[in-house]
């Protein structure tokens, strides 16, 4: 019973998250300006981090947690760097 509940809810959640990543990629490809693409990238790494967490629940191992933490750290730094680049034209001045 609980196995079926877990299996179906995790499958539907992963389907939703993959669809969300598809929306982000569409915004990255279509985005009329550079800041739209950066925004799509920002949402994309959040969705990837959540997808890794659902894989962790599915397999029952805490290994995926470290990967999700690293993704959120690096994604924040890259978004900051890209926003800085859009404003100033260079990252480190």
């Amino acid at each position: 019973m609980s196995a079926a509940i877990l299996f179906w809810s995790i499958s539907i959640a992963q389907l939703f998250l993959v669809a969300a990543m598809g929306c982000c990629v569409t915004r990255m490809v279509r985005g009329p300006r550079a800041q739209d693409r950066v925004l799509g990238f920002d949402a994309l790494y959040v969705c990837a981090m959540l997808l890794l967490l659902t894989f962790g629940i599915r397999t029952g191992s805490t290994l995926y947690f470290e990967a999700a933490l690293v993704i959120s750290l690096l994604g924040f730094v890259s978004t900051i760097a890209l926003a800085k680049f859009l404003m100033r034209g260079e990252v480190i001045e």
Partner: protein
């Protein structure tokens, strides 16, 4: 899914509920990001995924591992704190840079440089 038989039904129901809430809100946020008209509307939408989207899935993960290991497992709080702190910073910086780019191009939808409080004595393009 061999570990799933160790989880009682009430915990499985809670995990499924929070998983569906989190992933559904994330999907809604990205659909909003896809469908809104201008950048300044779009920048609001993905925060749905970084607040309750992340919160729901992290709560499901906390419940799952707490029940599995029979002890409080709260290391997911690290991700929650980190996402809560960093999302406003990155999105505000992105919106400021978009505003700066629109102003330098004299776009009509945004106020020009002179409209921003000349009495303050600071240059408006300062971050």
């Amino acid at each position: 899914m061999t570990h799933a038989t160790d989880i009682p039904v009430w915990a499985a129901l809670l995990i499924g509920f929070f998983l569906l809430i989190g992933s559904g809100l994330t999907l809604l946020g990205t659909i909003g990001m896809l469908r809104f008209g201008s950048f300044y509307e779009r920048v609001h939408a993905p925060t749905l995924g970084t607040t309750w989207g992340t919160g729901g899935i992290l709560l499901a993960s906390i419940i799952c591992f707490t029940v599995l290991q029979s002890r409080p497992v709260v290391h997911e709080l690290l991700i929650a704190i980190f996402i809560t702190v960093t999302t406003p910073v990155s999105l505000m910086l992105l919106a400021r840079s978009a505003l700066y780019r629109d102003r330098t191009e004299n776009a009509e939808a945004v106020p020009p440089f002179e409209a921003v409080t000349p009495a303050a004595g600071v240059k408006p393009e300062i971050r």
